[in-house]
């Protein structure tokens, strides 16, 4: 007698494809949301652009160069904004991936599928990485049009440096999704958490401009080195540490976060099996 389902690598791959495709369709079903993901960051750049004009002479912010090694403050900030998009998506998208399934009333039935439950989040990750990369690219292109963007370094080195940072970030997203599912009403936590992480990791300014008491917190965030290294490659700004050291930190961050994310998710799975709270809002 055969079982109702016969799990295999092929069935896992099909499940992964189904989740990825579902998220992809869902993303493009709401084109205004997709447009908003691109235009919102551009709007938020406007006050910084005009504020930078106040501090500039002939378009050059010499004061800014004292902190970053480059007077091209808009390229610095545009790159930070595009990378920042991934942080926002991990907090709001990945963080709410399971909660959204719960609210839609499909989490319990998904949980009963004969596939490893980690695949539920892995599927979300694939679509999220692709759609966020596309929107980040669109942000850079539009911002270049409006404000000017002048990369002078190696794009490939910057992209390779970005990979461990993104994998680490999504590993954190696994753990965060589990936390949001447990807390249920986590809007303020997500809102404040994402805002502080993006601000303190230097998405909009060189972290050396922070006061002494805040700088250690910023330097303790691995994302700070991600932003710094990518800018170092692409804009040739002064980096906090030698780029090779920053890449090693990012690789360690990736390993730790992936292991931690998987562990946190498995702990949640055990918790909800023991307490039966998966369907509780």
């Amino acid at each position: 007698m055969t079982s109702l389902s016969q799990p295999s690598w092929a069935s896992h791959a099909r499940a992964l494809w189904a989740i990825t495709r579902k998220d992809w369709l869902y993303f493009w079903r709401y084109p205004l949301n997709a447009l908003s993901l691109v235009f919102q960051p551009i709007i938020w750049l406007a006050p910084v652009y005009f504020m930078g004009q106040v501090f500039s002479t002939n378009g050059q912010a010499q004061g800014f160069a004292g902190f970053s090694g480059s007077s091209d403050y808009m390229s610095f900030i545009i790159l930070g904004t595009a990378l920042n998009n991934f942080i926002l998506v991990v907090f709001w998208g990945m963080g709410y991936a399971l909660k959204n399934d719960m609210d839609a009333g499909v989490l319990e039935s998904n949980w009963l599928m004969p596939v490893p439950r980690l695949l539920l989040l892995t599927g979300h990750t694939f679509t999220s990485l692709v759609t966020t990369s596309l929107t980040s690219l669109a942000i850079i292109l539009l911002a270049a049009l409006f404000f000017g963007f002048h990369p002078t370094g190696s794009v490939w080195s910057a992209m390779l440096t970005l990979l461990p940072m993104l994998f680490g970030l999504y590993g954190f997203g696994f753990a965060f999704a589990a936390l949001v599912l447990l807390l249920r009403d986590a809007n303020t936590l997500v809102d404040v958490g994402s805002f502080l992480v993006q601000s303190l990791s230097g998405s909009n300014f060189p972290v050396t401009a922070l006061p002494r008491w805040l700088l250690p917190i910023s330097l303790a965030l691995p994302l700070t080195y991600g932003f710094d290294a990518v800018r170092g490659w692409l804009l040739k700004t002064q980096t906090l540490l030698p780029i090779e050291t920053e890449i090693m930190i990012l690789i360690a961050f990736m390993v730790v976060m992936l292991v931690f994310g998987v562990w946190a998710f498995r702990s949640l799975e055990r918790h909800v099996r023991q307490t039966g709270t998966l369907g509780q809002h």
Binding site: P47, M51, F55, S56, A61, G63, A65, S199, A209
Partner: protein, 291 residues
């Protein structure tokens, strides 16, 4: 049944100022209870005033340079040396309008999604009192928010207020009709078009780009300055900066107050007219129960 029956029995409800006031009070009290029910909303009142200006303040410090050499350019353009106070005023006004759009602007839509709008609509009261009640509750919340913001700016960022507090309050009072008039118009539109997010993003985006939350509007190109002059937050931000940071007197503030009062009358008329239009349309099309 004789006609005298109708003359002697009282109607099911008695209209009057007292009844309208009780309806408004009930809406206000319900909103207040809902607000207190979620501790995270109360925590947010204390956290956001500090962390929202954070990015702009440290971006400005980075632009000023390690030795603060860029500050001379900033002072020349803005007329103040108080960089943090200058930014904090702009971001607070932006947050005020943003929160009004999300709360007052969503008041009717929230009722609609909860499924209580239709039954409330049948209550024998002036329907605008739903919005007024929600608006008054929101005004109190925002008064707390702005007071917390003012204290926290002093404590955490070292902002020193030099002006007459009564004149600062006068600007806030003059700003209310335009801020809440826009909120009322917004609430009525949202109930019709259903989707609020895109509209909130549009309105707050306009304020962010044109109204000088972190910069003087004199730095904008001419056409952008013209647009800015048609947006009330431009005058609110300018007026509060002048009153709180530059010790301006009533005569100096009068152009801002005058503009705000004119805009306020305009936006209250627009807000009320939009509501009446929506109410009439809802009765004719039955759209009030549609999602």
């Amino acid at each position: 049944m004789s006609s005298s029956y109708f003359r002697t029995t009282s109607p099911l409800t008695r209209h009057g100022f007292g009844a309208e006031w009780r309806a408004m009070w009930t809406v206000f009290w319900r909103e207040w209870i809902i607000f207190r029910r979620y501790p995270s909303w109360i925590i947010a009142l204390f956290i956001w005033p500090v962390i929202f200006p954070f990015v702009y303040v440290f971006s400005a410090r980075a632009l000023a340079g390690p030795d603060g050499s860029g500050m001379a350019l900033f002072t020349r353009a803005t007329g103040t040396t108080d960089l943090v106070g200058y930014i904090a005023v702009g971001t607070t006004v932006w947050m005020w309008q943003n929160v009004v759009l999300w709360t007052v602007g969503m008041a009717l839509r929230n009722e609609q999604t909860r499924g209580t709008l239709e039954s409330n609509w049948l209550a024998p009261t002036w329907r605008f009192s739903y919005l007024l009640g929600a608006g008054i509750s929101q005004m109190i919340t925002m008064a707390i928010f702005i007071a917390v913001a003012a204290v926290e700016f002093g404590l955490f960022f070292g902002v020193r207020y030099q002006g007459n507090p009564l004149l600062v309050l006068l600007i806030f009072a003059a700003a209310m009709p335009s801020i809440y008039g826009l909120g009322f118009a917004f609430a009525s539109l949202v109930i019709t078009v259903k989707e609020a997010n895109a509209f909130v993003f549009l309105v707050r985006g306009l304020i962010m780009i044109f109204c000088g939350i972190t910069f003087p509007i004199s730095i904008l190109p001419g056409w952008m300055q013209t647009v800015a002059n048609w947006l009330p937050p431009t005058y609110i931000i300018h007026g509060i900066r002048e009153a709180a940071l530059n010790n301006a007197n009533l005569a100096a503030l009068w152009p801002d107050i005058q503009a705000l009062l004119l805009f306020g009358v305009g936006w209250l008329i627009i807000g009320y007219s939009t509501f009446m239009w929506m109410e009439r349309r809802a009765r004719q099309t039955g759209a009030i129960g549609e999602y």
